[in-house]
Structure formats: structure tokens, C-alpha cells
């Protein structure tokens, strides 16, 4: 029972995810923020992939206005943990379309992120889930869930866009 994949949709989704990755790696804060819908949820759970973020602590559980606050904080030039900014290079892969109702596309992907900052070098591995919504300006992120594979363990500061 395999879903018929529309290669045009797959290509569009791929391009979108690569673009998001490039904006993150290059700290293009405003362009990245513009990828979100108004009802966006940006979620990085802790202690597993399936906790209830309304009840349990997450590393990030941002609504649209808190995403905006995060970006504003970078723009003050006083977000010390990103002064200097982390040097980043990430690989996005395993892009899989889980469903597509013509309006919203559910997508899974993995990312491997190499970070170099004052502390040293850190490798982050994530399994991501997106809800991408079609709009007049192309795809937008309505929801992004980032599951760090080691989110049950103590982790160093994670202050770049992930």
C-alpha cells in the first residue's frame, strides 16, 4: 500500500526544506521567520518524542509570537551565546511525504547539524516533522517538530536556529 508520490510536490518540498536549512545555517533570521504561518508552532520536545507539551517541559515550545521574540532577541546584538554566531553546516535528508490533502503536506526528514562555536564542535542529530501549508507565496511552515535523538540526555546550549 504505497502512496503515489507526486514528484513535483516532492521537488517543491525538498527545495523548501533546503532553503530553510540554508537560511538557518546562514543566520538569515528575518527570512527564516517569514517562512512561518500566523498560527505556527515550533516545538523541540525533551525526554522523548511524544510528551505532551502542554503539560511537560520542552526545550522549545513556541507559538508565533514567541518565535518573533526569539528573532528580536538575536537582533539586539546582545544574545551573547550567539556572539559570535555559531558556524553551522547541516545536511537535510530522508525527506518523506507522509500525507498531502491538497492544502497541507505532512513531511518527515532528518538533519545532521555540525556546529562550531567558542566551546568547540558539537554534532546534533534530529528527526523532524513538518506541517507545510500551501499559500499564495508558496509553502509555509505551520508546524515544525524537531526531535533531537538525544533529548533524554543533558545537552549543551542550543541557541542557533535548529
Amino acid at each position: 500500500m504505497s502512496m503515489q508520490i507526486d514528484l513535483n510536490v516532492l521537488a517543491e518540498v525538498q527545495q523548501f526544506l533546503y532553503r530553510e536549512a540554508r537560511l538557518q545555517d546562514s543566520h538569515a533570521y528575518d527570512e527564516w521567520e517569514a517562512l512561518w504561518t500566523d498560527d505556527a508552532i515550533y516545538w523541540i520536545p525533551a525526554n522523548g518524542a511524544d510528551i505532551d507539551p502542554e503539560e511537560q517541559m520542552s526545550i522549545i515550545y513556541d507559538n508565533r509570537s514567541r518565535i518573533g521574540l526569539r528573532i528580536k532577541q538575536f537582533h539586539t546584538g546582545q544574545r551573547h551565546t550567539q556572539m559570535p554566531q555559531s558556524a553551522l553546516g547541516r545536511v537535510v535528508s530522508n525527506i518523506e511525504i507522509l500525507s498531502d490533502d491538497g492544502h497541507e503536506i505532512k513531511v518527515a526528514s532528518n538533519a545532521l547539524i555540525y556546529e562550531s562555536n567558542l566551546r568547540g564542535e558539537t554534532v546534533w542529530a534530529t528527526r523532524n516533522e513538518f506541517v507545510l501549508r500551501r499559500s499564495d507565496d508558496g509553502l509555509r511552515m505551520a508546524r515544525k517538530k524537531v526531535v533531537l535523538v538525544n533529548n533524554d540526555k543533558p545537552i549543551y546550549t542550543l541557541s542557533f536556529l535548529v
Partner: protein, 424 residues
């Protein structure tokens, strides 16, 4: 020259390394000193381990720590809490690999020795091989003393010493008393799960920073300015808040003078009584109009209980020393029994401000790591802690206080540290 002679000595001279207004940089970087700290602080004094509400039911357990040691906190079927070492007494296997759960018996996967959650050895396969053995001598290692204050569970590996109440002192007990009163039912609940934030820094940088009222305006200006938060002003030059040395290494930034001056309910939490009508009503019903007003104006404490429990108004931090240059902060939102509307906001604000991506703590952590690298530089050898020494004064209760930005707190931490490290 001076420092070389200090470091070369076989036992560090803590009287030299810790002075009234300066401390030696090697205290953060020296491996031998870290090992001595484990012996004289982490494995001797009372250390905060966990909260009774983390193991609410019979046979619940949760993995905790004392310094680098893993500690299984269990509740036995009679309701008693035990702090067990995660080491099989047979051949040393790590007994439990789960973060939490519910079971009455822990079975070692290596040769299947089985232990009850009180630590007692229950049995082993093929028992005829152990015919002459006394099972009572082969139970799990335990933290020697366990004590609880209003749900906060502490452990001490020392068989003798001050009681927990003595260790907390008037100041530490008062902080927890004030904290639990934020609940209309007088109870704190630790139920929201922990974020675990690791820093490449010595644990004492974290302890010092928790009641360092000098840094917030500078380290956290980026978020105070964009979130239009009033917190920064509490730590400004004009603030009437005070820094207080509570004795025994416990310290405080007392923000109540500012909140009382402003005189608005729930202002301590950056909100208003209109937004939490249900909570405000319950508090008035529980404590009476006047007392409830007082509690809701004063807010929760900002108190560092030495060596590892930081009550930070809306959350707690549990500091875990792992290595001389590695420390984990375990942090969770405080939850108050009977206050669901308040609790929801506490969780949201905690997630925003702390943990690895927090608006506040990511920058604090950056400073921990930079100071760790900084003190590795040879000169000037000392960190200067003299801020506000000329304006230290005793308050009505006999505690040493100074302005909120002053280092009276840090000096208090180090004075106590020196006593512990010099003790036999």
C-alpha cells in the same frame, strides 16, 4: 610565584586560596580540588536529590544524582523514600537504566540478582552456590541519611553531622516555607519533567551566578529589552531589593522590597490579578484576605540553597557537579497544588526562559563556559569579589545584606566553602 607554591602543596591551603574579597582561579580548574570537593561537600553535606511528588505512588522510582553518582530515588510499598546507589553488589553492574518507572523489585540483567526497592537483596539464581552467604550483607548501597523538608528530599553520605533542619538553617527553611505558601494548599509539586542543560564549566560558577545580582542587567538585556520585562530594574543601581547572605552557604536576592513598593498582586510574576482570578480567589479563601495579599505581592523566593538547589521564583534548578569542568543544570517549572491556571503560565514562562535554548539561561551558560576558559589564563590568578564590601550591613534578623548588585552573596558562599574544605 605565589600561586605555584600554593598549587604545588600536596593538600591545597584553602585559607590561602579563599580570601575575603578574592579567590584563586585554580579553585575552578584543579582536578585534585574537585576530588576533595566530592569528599568534603558532595559526599558529606546534605545535597538536594528530588521531590516527594516525583514518586507519588508506592513502588515509583526516579533516577537522580548526587554529584557524579547516580541515585535511584524509590518509594517503597509502605510509602517510605529510599536513596539507592545504582550499583549491583555482585560484580558492580549498573542496576537500573531507566529514568523513571514503577516497580517493587530491581533485577540486575547480568546474573539476575534481585533487590527490593528498599535496597534489600531478595534472591539470586541457583542459590546453592551461595550456601554460606548472609544476604543481609549484600544489599544495595544506600545514601546514609535521607531527610525531607516540605516534600524536598535531601541525602547525605555522612553517617553523622548536622540534621537537615540545621543544614537549611533559619534562612533555608524560611525560603521553602515561603515557597510552599504560593500554593493555596501549601504544597509544591514537581511534575512537569526536567530540562537537562549541560555546561563546560565548574559547578561553583553556577552556584555563584544564581544569586549574582550584578549580571542580569547586562547578560539578559537582550531579552529584558525586547520582552519589555521589568525584571532588569530589580537588579538595577536604583533597586531597593537586597542581596543577602543567609549563612551556611545559602544566599538570596530578596526582591520583596521592590514588589512591596509597587504593591500590586502577581507583579512578581509579571502578570496581574485580573489574569488569574481563580487563583487569587483560592488564595484569599485559604489564607484570608490580608495574608493572601501579602503572599501574592511578595512572590516566591530567589534563594540558592548550598550546594545544589536553586529556588528561582518560578522554577527550581538542581545543580549537578559531574567533573571539574562539567556541570548539569536540571530545571523544571514549579507547580503549586491547587493552582492550575498559575501552573500553566509557570510552565510556559519556564520553557521560554531556561534550558538549553532559553532566553535567559543560554546566555548565563555562555558566561559559565567563558569564565571557565578565562580562569585558565595564568594572570591575574585571582577573581575579585569585593563589590559592596564597604556597604555590607546587618538586617533586623541579623543577616548580612548589601545592595542587590553586591557580591555579599558570593562572599558568603566562599566563606562557607572554605569552612567545609578545611574541616577534617
Amino acid at each position: 610565584m605565589e600561586s605555584q607554591s600554593i598549587i604545588a602543596r600536596s593538600t591545597p591551603d584553602f585559607g590561602q586560596l579563599v580570601q575575603r574579597d578574592r579567590i584563586h582561579g585554580s579553585l575552578y580548574t584543579d582536578e585534585q580540588i574537585f576530588q576533595l570537593e566530592l569528599e568534603k561537600i558532595w559526599y558529606k553535606t546534605w545535597v538536594y536529590v528530588g521531590h516527594a511528588t516525583e514518586v507519588p505512588n508506592a513502588n515509583d522510582f526516579v533516577m537522580k544524582s548526587i554529584g557524579p553518582q547516580e541515585i535511584i530515588m524509590t518509594r517503597d510499598r509502605d510509602g517510605q523514600i529510599h536513596l539507592l546507589q545504582n550499583r549491583c553488589p555482585h560484580r558492580g553492574n549498573q542496576l537500573c537504566a531507566e529514568a523513571k518507572g514503577n516497580k517493587g523489585v530491581f533485577t540486575c540483567p547480568y546474573h539476575r540478582w534481585a533487590f527490593s526497592n528498599t535496597g534489600k537483596l531478595r534472591g539470586y539464581p541457583y542459590p546453592d552456590g551461595y550456601e554460606t552467604v548472609n544476604r543481609d550483607e549484600l544489599g544495595l548501597g544506600k545514601v546514609t541519611r535521607v531527610a525531607e523538608y516540605k516534600g524536598f528530599v535531601f541525602g547525605s553520605f555522612a553517617a553523622e553531622g548536622p540534621s537537615l533542619e540545621e543544614h537549611l538553617g533559619r534562612g533555608g527553611r524560611d525560603a521553602i516555607d515561603r515557597l510552599v505558601m504560593t500554593s493555596p494548599e501549601g504544597e509544591v509539586q514537581i511534575t512537569a519533567g526536567f530540562l537537562q542543560h549541560k555546561a563546560k564549566a565548574n559547578w561553583k560558577f553556577l552556584v555563584e551566578n544564581e544569586t549574582d545580582g550584578y549580571h542580569p542587567q547586562f547578560v539578559h538585556d537582550s531579552i529584558f529589552s525586547v520582552a519589555k520585562s521589568g525584571i532588569g530594574d530589580l537588579y538595577g543601581g536604583a533597586s531597593t531589593a537586597v542581596a543577602r547572605d543567609l549563612g551556611d552557604g545559602h544566599t538570596e536576592n530578596d526582591l520583596r522590597p521592590e514588589f512591596r513598593r509597587i504593591g500590586k498582586l502577581m507583579n512578581w510574576f509579571g502578570t496581574t490579578e485580573e489574569r488569574l482570578p481563580e487563583y487569587v480567589e483560592k488564595m484569599k479563601a485559604a489564607y484570608g484576605e490580608e495574608k493572601a495579599r501579602e503572599i501574592m505581592i511578595d512572590g516566591t523566593p530567589h534563594v540558592m540553597i548550598f550546594p545544589n538547589l536553586f529556588i528561582a521564583e518560578i522554577q527550581i534548578f538542581v545543580i549537578q557537579a559531574v567533573a571539574v569542568d562539567e556541570t548539569i543544570q536540571h530545571v523544571t517549572a514549579l507547580q503549586f497544588k491547587g493552582a492550575p491556571d498559575l501552573n500553566r503560565r509557570l510552565r510556559q514562562q519556564t520553557m521560554g526562559s531556561v534550558g538549553p535554548a532559553g532566553f535567559l539561561l543560554a546566555d548565563d551558560s555562555e558566561m559559565y563556559e567563558r569564565t571557565q576558559r578565562g580562569v585558565a589564563a595564568k594572570n591575574p590568578e585571582w577573581n575579585y569579589l569585593g563589590r559592596g564590601i564597604h556597604r555590607e550591613r546587618e538586617d533586623e534578623e541579623g543577616y548580612l545584606v548589601a545592595d542587590n548588585t553586591d557580591e555579599v552573596t558570593t562572599r558568603g558562599i566562599w566563606r562557607h566553602y572554605r569552612e567545609l574544605m578545611e574541616a577534617e
